[in-house]
């Protein structure tokens, strides 16, 4: 359920989007400032390189400005930006990292939130996530950190949902191995 505060924010954001669509650069700046943290965070996690993440974030907002007329105001502006950011980040890679066999639906139950065995320092998790192979990291970032469903993540990444699940399964196994090298505590 959307809270009153969220609803106000969405209305306010929709007004800014409408003004930006009419060419109001200041309204677009407001949208930029509202979303740059999430977009840069996503780009940083996908690229693992602060300089590349800056380029990726800028490219995201340039593409967004150019594509505003195509934006469906019924959907969330933030999610739309995330889709653009994922596209930009993936396009920067030389070749796709999707060599994992799709996992049949029944083999990987949907886990909305994966809990670690013991508390781990944020910096340690970030480093472990950053060390994952590209494909596994993409899914873990989108599903595990940003909370997208397999369906949404697979659509953003342009892969089958089964592949997405397989990559998440792989990512979690690799992450667990990295965080707990001597087995679960």
């Amino acid at each position: 359920m959307i809270s009153a505060a969220q609803s106000d924010r969405i209305d306010w954001e929709a007004a800014l989007v409408q003004r930006a669509r009419n060419g109001d650069m200041r309204a677009f700046e407001r949208l930029y400032r509202e979303h740059i943290g999430r977009i840069y965070g996503l780009c940083l996690r996908l690229t693992r390189d602060p300089a590349a993440a800056e380029d990726c974030a800028q490219e995201t907002f340039i593409n967004a400005w150019r594509g505003l007329k195509n934006f469906e105001t019924r959907s969330a502006f933030g999610t739309w930006l995330h889709r653009i950011a994922v596209n930009v980040a993936l396009a920067r890679r030389r070749r796709p990292a999707w060599t994992v066999e799709p996992l049949p639906d029944a083999e990987e139950p949907e886990e909305p939130e994966w809990t670690l065995d013991t508390p781990v320092e944020v910096s340690e998790i970030e480093a472990a996530v950053g060390a994952l192979p590209d494909g596994a990291r993409d899914v873990l970032v989108l599903c595990g950190i940003y909370g997208y469903s397999h369906g949404e993540a697979s659509e953003m990444l342009g892969v089958a949902e089964g592949t997405c699940k397989a990559q998440l399964h792989r990512a979690r196994a690799l992450l667990r191995r990295k965080l707990y090298p001597e087995g679960s505590p």
Binding site: E54, Q58, P119
Partner: protein, 188 residues
């Protein structure tokens, strides 16, 4: 590729990936460069919509518009936090444009030119229309002062910032309408 960037070096411990920060501030403000690229790429568009040239018979409609803007502003002011005391203690607060989001050089130039020629334009309007324009502008300028005073107390209030930008846009709409109406009267 550089070393994986660790965005939050703090020793905070978490048990879920969902507890990781979703927002990470970039090391520098990317907007100035981004804005340059948008403008250089031809993506920048006029901020203020062009109104069709107005003829004298549209004076009434123009006056109606500025009156409507004035009423809208009055309603908007009703949403503001109480700022009466601040206004009373700063009766001569100037109508400068302090907010960074209203600092577009093109906007400032257009506004200055319109304000400079306002008196001459007003002189060309019928007295009744002139009074309505002046009343609307007075309301708008008072609203600007109210909002700026409220922003002085709550500089991070997004709603107030939005309201201030809207008010400046309302002012520009009135100034543009007066200019168009005046130009229209000169055509006939």
């Amino acid at each position: 590729m550089s070393e994986p960037h660790s965005p939050q070096p703090a020793a905070r411990k978490v048990t879920s990936l969902r507890d990781l920060p979703l927002e990470i501030a970039p090391p520098r403000d990317l907007w100035p460069e981004l804005e340059r690229r948008l403008v250089a790429g031809g993506a920048g568009r006029r901020r203020w919509p062009q109104l069709p040239a107005l003829r004298p018979r549209y004076f009434a409609a123009a006056a109606g518009l500025v009156a409507a803007v004035g009423v809208g502003i009055l309603i908007g002011r009703g949403l503001l936090p109480s700022v009466g005391g601040d206004i009373a203690t700063h009766p001569t607060a100037s109508l400068v444009v302090p907010a960074s989001f209203i600092s577009d050089p093109r906007y400032l130039r257009d506004r200055a030119e319109l304000l400079k020629s306002l008196n001459a334009r007003l002189a060309e309007l019928p007295p009744q229309s002139r009074q309505k324009v002046l009343a609307s502008l007075a309301t708008i300028h008072q609203s600007m002062r109210d909002i700026q005073a409220a922003l002085g107390r709550e500089p991070g209030n997004a709603l107030l910032q939005e309201l201030l930008v809207d008010t400046y846009q309302d002012e520009m709409r009135v100034l543009t309408t007066v200019q168009e109406a005046s130009a229209g009267s000169g055509e006939t």
